[in-house]
């Protein structure tokens, strides 16, 4: 019997090649898209799940009430961690963690490396297994380092890395270390990562800040004791805060700050290690919002659902045309379960065919997909039991939905009716219409969301930021270099060249450079009895000129004035804290120490020095050398931008023949800030296009069936004098109505969802009704074109032939 089923299924598939093609191809594309999306989501959700102790590992963060609102951060004073271990029996282990250098040297070879410093507990808490060397206490000496296998291979090649001397560039000089152990490479789904890790005591500024509770730098990870709970820890943290943060608490009280919801001005909290990838409070984590992976899963589900609906509609329609076979089987003694098994079996066969095709498509698309969306996915991920089970479950659900329901619907119909063929495809349209509307609702929804997201990104890209980004080249300077000297030498060699307008430097890049870095530091001080907070930006002479900022009062930093090393240029927001633009000029601020205050020499118009997700905050620019310059900015004349870029690179090569730089224009950098959004909007656009294509494939197949059914009607109408256009309009009308209804349902949903999304941006567009009109237009146009292919063919058919058909 089973062989009989397979045989007839195979022959049926071959007989109706068009329907089978649409079914298999549509489903296969949907499976492929779904697999890629699920893999992407799975990878995001798998972050930091590999730690054996993951249930007990937490990252510490602090919430502080400030006059401008609540602030949460994960950076802490250096002495906090030892105090934590001493005061909290709940804390079994704890480690500080911070990036300290980007360069490591072996003999005369220098390598780029992610060098972190941490406490010895780090390697015990987290699952970063050691594979060679000192396995128990690899960081027992201050001069020990642990490096990853990959880094070891890069530095030492085939040589054994253990006990080899290396040097790390720290605080302007090379310091010597010994490799004590080699760790297995950090999985790429780990938020915490390093190439090289040394003891925390090597952190620059450690000695001067080791008892300083005022400055915050490192992150803190803790492992809770087996009996301890997060709630218990947080409850007891009040006493700890009161004991150690006395000065800050006193200032907050003085400034009249209201306590938070928990009644505290400052409170310590923990976040599970498995959530830091999605939590922007974490300095290491916060790569993406947790909604994104779920959104991807949802979209994958949508696409699969659309393909399933096609399958369902087509299977039902095709099965009606097979009514004679089904009727005959019933007469010959088949019972309902046998028929359901047979028809469902056919669906399973098609789905299986589609799944295999889908896997092949996904495999072929994966390299391109990875490149396009900067992912590192592999189909091997599918081998993980959870994902495999999910995929299988999804597959069974798809076959049940797409094949099971039609099978059941057909098998239960009265034998005589099926045999007589008195049931025809498309006679009972209710379910089919509901399903088709659902498909087009989803497609229109995706189109609307895509259009709005694209508009928002375009708006962000084109919005004036208050500085010149088209003509300014930013050069990230190598870590191990004397950067002040490099800036001076570049300034000397470039100034006066044609095409070069101004040269300056800063400790922080604008946007996100090719080195991927973006950072900020904040200072706080007392001014006339209240505390003033500001972003702190080390710049160099001519910064205002090089960036094209607008001066409102005072002047730019200039080498012509010998006193400018103690001068400050501030923005309007900062000036407002000091009493206004004019009043701020000449104000002396006790930023570093009260004996040597710094003087405001200029006020510039506010500019967006941070991504547009954030409002402009107070900013203080200075020339204080303890924050070294890390970037050179060169303003070039408009016109030959590429020529100027080449000139900059050439000059650098002449000055530093052995050193490579990777300069970029600031507009590239600001674009890079929205890379995550662009990546996701890329996925969205692809998904929307796919959804509409698959919906239309279904629409096409349904229109084939409907036209076949209406052939005679069309023939009769033509004999009676109907025009081709009239007939096309007649048969397209039903579909057009459904698509219009779908757009009307989708529009308010899209409006609501995207309005929520836009709330994330400080600068955002207003959703315009034209988006919905455009989305509706696109959906309608594509649908009408799809249906027209069939309706025009039917309308052009010789009426004699079409009447004879039945």
């Amino acid at each position: 019997m089973f062989r009989n089923y397979i045989k007839i299924a195979w022959r049926n598939l071959r007989k109706s090649k068009l329907l089978t093609g649409v079914n298999v191809l549509g489903l296969a594309i949907a499976f492929a898209a779904c697999i890629l999306l699920v893999l992407t989501a799975w990878r995001e959700l798998s972050f930091d799940q590999f730690h054996t102790n993951k249930g007990r590992l937490q990252e510490l963060y602090i919430t502080v009430q400030r006059p401008e609102g609540e602030e949460s951060r994960s950076n802490f004073p250096i002495p906090l961690t030892p105090a934590l271990k001493q005061d909290f029996p709940e804390v079994k282990a704890a480690s500080r963690f911070i990036a300290i250098s980007g360069s490591i040297r072996y003999h005369d070879k220098t390598f780029q490396a992610d060098v972190k410093s941490a406490d010895a507990d780090l390697l015990k808490m987290f699952s970063f297994p050691l594979i060679k060397g000192e396995m128990h206490q690899p960081l027992n000496s201050l001069s020990n380092v642990v490096i990853t296998a990959n880094m070891a291979k890069k530095i030492f090649g085939a040589e054994d890395a253990i006990n080899k001397p290396v040097e790390i560039y720290l605080e302007g000089e090379w310091k010597s270390f010994i490799v004590s152990a080699v760790a297995k490479d950090i999985p790429d789904n780990s938020t915490i990562s390093f190439d090289v890790v040394c003891r925390f005591e090597n952190t620059p500024g450690y000695v001067s800040q080791k008892d300083d509770w005022g400055a915050s730098s490192n992150e803190v990870f803790v492992q809770l004791a087996d009996h301890a709970t997060v709630a218990g820890f947080e409850r007891r943290s009040g006493t700890f805060v009161n004991k150690y943060f006395t000065a800050i608490l006193r200032d907050l009280k003085r400034d009249g700050v209201a306590p938070g919801k928990d009644g505290q001005l400052m409170s310590l909290h923990l976040m599970p290690i498995t959530t830091i990838h999605f939590n922007s409070i974490s300095s290491s984590g916060g790569a993406i919002s947790k909604t994104y992976p779920y959104l991807l899963l949802l979209i994958g589900g949508f696409i699969l659902f659309i393909a399933c609906v096609n399958f369902m509609n087509l299977t039902i329609a095709a099965a009606f045309s097979r009514s004679r076979e089904i009727g005959m089987r019933k007469i010959l003694g088949a019972v309902k379960t046998q028929l359901v098994t047979q028809l469902w079996g056919e669906a399973v066969l098609i789905c299986l065919l589609a799944l295999v095709t889908g896997l092949v498509i996904a495999y072929l698309l994966l390299p391109g997909y990875n490149a396009l969306f900067s992912n590192k996915l592999s189909l091997a991920l599918l081998k993980s039991p959870g994902l495999l089970a999910g995929v299988l479950l999804g597959f069974v659900l798809v076959t049940l939905l797409s094949g099971g329901y039609p099978a059941w619907a057909i098998a239960k119909i009265n034998t005589l009716k099926v045999l007589k063929g008195s049931l025809q495809a498309g006679k009972s349209n209710g379910l089919r219409n509901v399903l088709m509307v659902t498909q087009f609702v989803i497609s229109s929804l995706l189109i609307c969301c895509t259009l709005i997201a694209w508009q928002q990104l375009d708006y962000l890209r084109k919005m004036p930021l208050g500085y010149n980004r088209d003509q300014v080249i930013s050069i990230p300077l190598p870590y191990e270099m004397d950067t002040e000297q490099a800036l001076q030498r570049m300034r000397n060699s470039l100034s006066g060249q044609t095409g070069i307008a101004a040269i300056s430097g800063a400790a922080i890049n604008m946007g996100r450079g090719r080195d991927g870095a973006s950072q900020s530091s904040i200072i706080a001080m007392d001014y006339k009895g209240h505390s003033v907070r500001s972003n702190w930006l080390r710049v160099d002479y001519d910064y205002v000129k090089a960036l094209g900022l607008t001066l409102l009062a005072g002047r730019d930093f200039s080498q012509a004035y010998g006193t400018d090393s103690s001068g400050l240029v501030i923005n309007e927001k900062m000036a407002a804290q000091l009493g206004g633009v004019q009043a701020a000029l000449g104000v002396q601020l006790p930023v570093l120490d009260s004996a040597h205050p710094l003087t405001v020499i200029g006020v510039v118009k506010d500019f967006n020095f941070k991504p547009l997700k954030e409002d402009i905050a107070p900013l203080t620019m200075n020339l204080v050398k303890s924050w070294p310059v890390q970037y050179i900015f060169v303003k070039v004349a408009p016109g030959d931008l590429q020529g100027s870029m080449a000139l900059v690179k050439k000059q650098w090569k002449q000055l530093y023949p052995g050193s490579d730089i990777d300069p970029s224009f600031l507009d590239e950098n600001t674009d890079r800030q929205y890379r995550r959004e662009q990546r996701y909007s890329g996925i969205f656009i692809s998904a929307a296009i796919l959804a509409i294509i698959i919906s239309c494939m279904g629409l096409f197949a349904i229109s084939v069936l409907v036209m076949t059914r209406r052939t005679r009607e069309i023939g009769v109408r033509k004999v009676l004098g109907a025009s081709v256009i009239g007939i096309v309009a007649l048969v397209s009308k039903d579909f057009v109505k459904l698509v219009l209804l779908s757009v009307m349902i989708a529009a308010p949903i899209a409006w609501y969802v995207m309005d929520q999304w836009l709330q994330d941006y400080a600068y955002r567009i207003h959703i315009n009704i034209t988006v919905f009109v455009a989305a509706g237009g696109i959906a309608l146009l594509v649908a009408v074109l799809t249906v027209s292919i069939q309706s025009v063919r039917a309308a052009l058919m010789n009426p004699i032939k079409s009447i004879r058909t039945e």
Binding site: I8, R11, M328, R329, I331, L332, A334, L416
Partner: protein, 229 residues
């Protein structure tokens, strides 16, 4: 073998109610060959469907081997039908996707006959219907007469006690029609009860008894020759 008492069948839509059968009383003996005749719409096919357990009457009684079956569920009827009734249709109703052999094999599959026995029985019946040489062909590759012979082979392969034929020669030319009627007669001679709906007086001539229907009632019964049980 079968007996109906005051059999009625109503078809109703939202607006009209049609009486297809209006008090049919009849009895058919084992081994009998009965032809049912009458104009279009007189209820012939409806009667045949009820006799074949494909449909239930609206009222009245139907005894199939002394068992009242008029109120049975579709599942029960299917169970009873399987193996005891064979069907032959005007439009053959062969399954296009199956070969001649597979079409004939189908009833045996549903009866769960073992493979070897199935093969033997199908080959036997194909030989008998003189269609063995076409066993691997698909229905569309055969002439109408050949298709009907396959349909008859399928109807008899499970050795049913009764065959119901709904205008078996309706789609055939006279030569093929004659051949099919002879086959049916042979089967009847071998002991199979035959109930046939037909428009053709010639075909009806093969039957022992002709029942004439008009507007859902039996109007006349002609017994062609003495028939002994």
């Amino acid at each position: 073998m079968i007996k109906t008492v005051n059999l009625q069948k109503l078809f109703s839509t939202e607006e009209v109610e049609t009486t297809a059968l209006n008090g049919i009383n009849m009895e058919i003996q084992d081994g009998e060959f009965v032809a049912i005749m009458g104009p279009s719409g007189c209820g012939k096919s409806t009667l045949l469907n009820i006799l074949g357990l494909l449909d239930n009457p609206s009222a009245g009684e139907y005894y199939f081997w002394d068992k009242e079956v008029a109120r049975m569920s579709e599942r029960q009827r299917a169970q009873l039908r399987k193996g005891s009734i064979g069907f032959v249709f005007q439009s053959f109703n062969l399954i296009d996707e199956l070969t001649v052999f597979e079409n004939v094999e189908l009833p045996l599959l549903y009866l769960k006959v073992p493979s070897q026995e199935r093969k033997q029985k199908v080959e036997q019946v194909l030989e008998r219907m003189n269609i063995m040489h076409r066993r691997n062909h698909f229905p569309q590759q055969l002439s109408g007469g050949q298709q009907q012979r396959v349909a008859i082979a399928r109807a008899v392969v499970a050795k049913p006690k009764m065959i119901l034929a709904d205008e078996p020669t309706g789609n055939l030319d006279s030569t093929n029609g004659e051949e099919v009627m002879k086959l049916l007669q042979e089967l009847n001679d071998a002991g199979t009860t035959m109930v046939m709906v037909t428009h053709s007086p010639y075909d009806a001539g093969f039957a022992h008894r002709i029942i004439n229907l008009f507007d859902g009632r039996v109007v006349t019964e002609n017994i062609k020759e003495q028939f002994h049980v």
